[in-house]
Amino acid sequence: MRKADIIGGLMGVFISAFVFYESSKFPEDIVMKIGPSYFPRILAMGLLLVSGILILQAYMGKSKKPAEKFDIKEPGIQRAGIALLSTIVYCMILDKVGFIPSSILYLVFLMYLLEKRNYVKMTMISTAVVVGIYIIFKTILNITLPSGFFG
C-alpha cells in the first residue's frame, strides 16, 4: 500500500500542478478578481495539501494495511488486461465494421477469455444478445448504433 499511496499522492500533486499551470492562461476578471481560474485554483491547493499528507504518511510508514500486490504476471491481472485491450480494439473497429458483427465477435472473445469453450452456445447467446440490444435501441428507443458495411 505504501508504494501505491506514494504514487497516488504524486498523481495528485501532478494534477494540481497541471491545474495551476493551465489556469494561469485563463483570462482574469478585472473587476471582480474572481474569474474562471478562481475555483480550480482553490481545488488545486486542496488537492496539493491532501496529496502531500498522503505521501508524508506513506513515507513515515503510516499507510494502511498492505493491498494485494499488483503483479502483472498473475493470470487474473493478465485477464483483466486482455479484457481491456479487447475492449479498446472493439471500440476502434465498431465504427468501421458495424455494431452487430463486431459486438458478436467481442462477446465470443470475452467468453473465451473467461474459459467458456462451447462455441455453438457462445455464438448463439452472443448473437441473440447483440441483435436484441440492436432492436431495442433502434426500434423502441430510437437510438441508432453504428451499422458499418452491413448497413
Binding site: 474562471p36 475555483f39 481545488l43 491532501v50 491481472i77 465498431l94 467481442y106 435501441f137
Partner: protein, 504 residues
Amino acid sequence: MRFDLLMQGFANVLQLNVLLMVVLGVTGGIMVGSLPGLTATMGVALLVPFTFGLPINQSMAMLLGIFCGAIYGGSISAILIRTPGTPAAAATLLDGYPLSERGEAGRALSMSVFASFIGGFSGALIMTFLSPQISKVALKFGPPEYFALAIFGLSIIISVSGNSILKGVMAGIFGLTLSTIGLDPISGYPRFTFGQMDLFEGPAFIPTLIGLFALSEIFKGVETILTREKVDNKITQLLPTLADIKKCWKVILKSSILGTFIGSIPGAGSDIAAFVGYSEAKRTSKYPEKFGTGVIEGVAAAESANNACTGGAMIPLLSLGVPGDAVTAVLLGAFVIQGLRPGPLLYRDHMDVVYSVFAAMMVANIVMFIIGALGVKFFSKVITVDRNILIPVIFLLSIVGSYAMRNSIFDVWVAILFGILGYFMQRYDFPASPILLALILGPMAESNLRRALVISKGDISILFTRPISVILLGLAVVSLISSFVKQKRVEKRLAQEESEAAFK
C-alpha cells in the same frame, strides 16, 4: 402537498405505456439487484441509456422502478446464497441466510418482499408529504446556502464511503476538479478542454458513471473465474403468513420510518439504513440473543429499512437537488438528461413532473410487491446465471450505454478511461462515489460560490455570516471530523487485537 396534483400524477402514471415501463424497470431492477456483483448503482447506470429516447414520464417511471426493484432484489441472493446482491442487503443475510439453511427460504423471501413493499411505500408517502415543505424552505436559499449545501452533501458522502477519510477527501476534490472541465458556468471560457469540442460540457456524466461503477467492477470481475452458484431451496411460499406479519408489523413500521429519515440525509445510503433498522429491531426485541440465527424480524427490519430509504433519498434529490446516495446521484443525472434540474425550482416550474414522480414511486412499490412475490422462483434462478457469460454481456452494455447518449465514440473512451481509473482506485482503497457526487455538486458549488462573492463584493465572510449556510458548513466539518475520529478508534482497536493475537 396538493392532493389534486397527486391525483393528476397517478393519472399520468397509470397509463398503459407508463405502467409497462414500471414493470420493465422493476423486473430489470430486481434481476440486477439479485445478481451479486451488480450493485444498484451499476444497474441504474447500465439501464439509464435505455431511457434516453423515452418521454419524461416513461423514463422516470422506468428508472424509479429499477431503483426500487434493485434494492429489494439484493435480498434474494442474500437469503439464498449468503451473498448480498447489493450492499443494502448486507444486513438481510444475517437472519435471512440462517432461515434459508433451515429450509425456510420461502418464508424469508416472502417476508422480504412484504417488508420491502411496506418500507418502500411508506418512504414514498413520507417523501410526498415532506419534500414540498423542504422545497419551500429551499426556495429562500441564496447562493451562499447552495454552496454550503453542496459542500455538506460532499462531506457526508466522503465520511461514509471507504476506509480512509484522507483518500475520500482526495477523491472528492479530484471529482470537483473534473467538474471544472468544460465551459466556465459564468464567463463561458473553455477550461481544461485541450481544444476538444467533446469536452465543452465536461466529461459526460453517464459514460463517467458507467466507467467508475460498471467497467471498473467487471475488470475486477474477470480476474477470477467463478463457478455457477447452486440454489437447493424449494420455494413454495409467495406471501408471508398472518402469524409472521403479526410478529413483524411493529418492527416494519419502525424500520420504515427510520429508513426514510436516514435516506433523507444526503450521503447516507440504504446499506446504513438497513443496519440501523436491524440493530434497532434487535435492541428492542424480547429475544435479542436470537438475532443472527434466523429470526424473521431480522429480515423484516433490514428490508423495510433499506427500501424505505429509497423514498428518503428522493427527498433531498427532488427538493434540494442534492442526491442522497450514489444511486440517486445517477437518477439526478437522468433527470438532467431529460432537461430537468431537480431542486426547489422544479417545484415552482414543473409541479406536474414532481407529483408524477411521487405517484410513480408509489406505483413502483406496488408493482415490485406483485412481481417480487409472483416471480420469486424466476428470480431465484437468475442468481444461478453463468457469470462467465454474464460478464461479457455487461461489458457490451457498458460500451453501448456510453455510446448511445450522444452517438459518440469519444464518450466510450471516456468510459474506458474512468473504468481503468476506477479499477485502480478500488484496488488501493480510494472510494469512487465522492467523484460521482462531486461531478454533480461541483458546478453547483462553483457557480454559487462565485455568485455569493459577487454579491458580497469578494468578501468571503458572506459564507459564514448567514445562519443556514453556517449550520450546513458546520455540519460538514463535524461529519468529517467525527468519522475521522471514529476511524482512528477502529484502527486502534484493530491494532490492539492484532498485538494481543501476536502474544498468544
